[in-house]
Symmetry: D2
Subunit: 137 residues, 4 copies
Amino acid sequence: MHNLSQTFHFPVQIYYEDTDFSGVVYHPNFLKYFERAREHVIGAARLKQLWEQEQLGFAVYKSEMTCQEGVEFSDIIDVRTRFFIESQYRTVWHQEIYRPNATKPAVIAKIEMVCMNSKRHLTAMPDTLMAELTQQF
Amino acid sequence: MHNLSQTFHFPVQIYYEDTDFSGVVYHPNFLKYFERAREHVIGAARLKQLWEQEQLGFAVYKSEMTCQEGVEFSDIIDVRTRFFIESQYRTVWHQEIYRPNATKPAVIAKIEMVCMNSKRHLTAMPDTLMAELTQQF
Amino acid sequence: MHNLSQTFHFPVQIYYEDTDFSGVVYHPNFLKYFERAREHVIGAARLKQLWEQEQLGFAVYKSEMTCQEGVEFSDIIDVRTRFFIESQYRTVWHQEIYRPNATKPAVIAKIEMVCMNSKRHLTAMPDTLMAELTQQF
Amino acid sequence: MHNLSQTFHFPVQIYYEDTDFSGVVYHPNFLKYFERAREHVIGAARLKQLWEQEQLGFAVYKSEMTCQEGVEFSDIIDVRTRFFIESQYRTVWHQEIYRPNATKPAVIAKIEMVCMNSKRHLTAMPDTLMAELTQQF
């Protein structure tokens, strides 16, 4: 059994841009909010440094998403994120979206990310990054 | 075993808008291309009529996606789509993305869609629509 | 000369999704950030109420935008917004984007919005809304 | 007076992704369609080669857009493009969007693009590219 991190909370407000004419959020946008939340956990500045100085980045290998409820314009949703480190190459993220005052998630996702170099080859995460991520447990 | 439809092919050109600074397509956009392909299979005009005249639409309930290879600016990808009708409420779509001249898919997805009314309640697909979809086998 | 409102500040973090393979923000996204900022000035809940209860909304009629500098991944930009009420139908918004620690704007825009009903006919803003907007001066 | 190119026609189908909950295309997306049309005029492969081999690309410096009519889901719009070469650094594009069977444009735009290197410095277009563009007149 892997060690799961603490739960991170990340608020996202739903704007016109996020919805489609059926009146709710257009479903691919959920993957965007999950991605933003992960960028906050790792840290945007750290991601920029990894890319610029070590030509390393993260790519989504697998995503499984269940949309249980529509999300609406003007909602401020709570994106909840936990993750574990499966190996030096791979992290697995359990993420959920809660509408305001909701007790059950509107969207649930499990996302596998791999570390890659700029040639898009699977590459081990640097020890320094592994240590930083492990501190989140 | 369910009867799978024929395979539909739908070309998508990759523009600046589809990529991110790491140089490849930003992964949520794959779900957009899969959605466009499904809209072509059902027919945009038919979808518009369903919504405007019968307040019926489709929502993605589950999506599973595996990204095996990066897709690049200026690629014209082939989105391949097959589906089956699981019930009067639910269709299941097997979709893949092939880069030019590729023999293996860059992205593979299985997507479950449900039929809903404008109150977002699960609703049976009209018989007429069921008949139209069944003709695709 | 029209009375200009106070200046509103609205922070936006730049994520992978905002950039393209050239390494900077893809220019149509600037219009998204300006739109989000206007939604905050008017209030998302107020906009939702206008749409649901009075079938009123705002549409962009004209936009003029000058992009003077590229904006990068991980920037937290400051979207600055001032506006004036030209008539019961039309508001004019002066908006700028500043990169962190910048003294000059990276992007400057002037945007004209009109009030419309759900049939997309030009419609006067309700007096209540006019009063709320005027309080921002 | 500058020499205007021939008019290029580029069809774009409007999908769920393009609309917002007010029922029409979300206005920043018009700038995307104009960008796609320009990419087709210059040629995506040519743009990719310019970027990869000469670290050259185009950036939008100014955009003026007037949205005269809403565009709807399932429309197949005609994006009409003409341009002229103002200098070795700058091209000016007159672009319009026509809804099906329309006699007047729904959206009109004038867009100024500049040629830049990967350090985002203004750079002259190569003579070869100037010659290719001039052939479009």
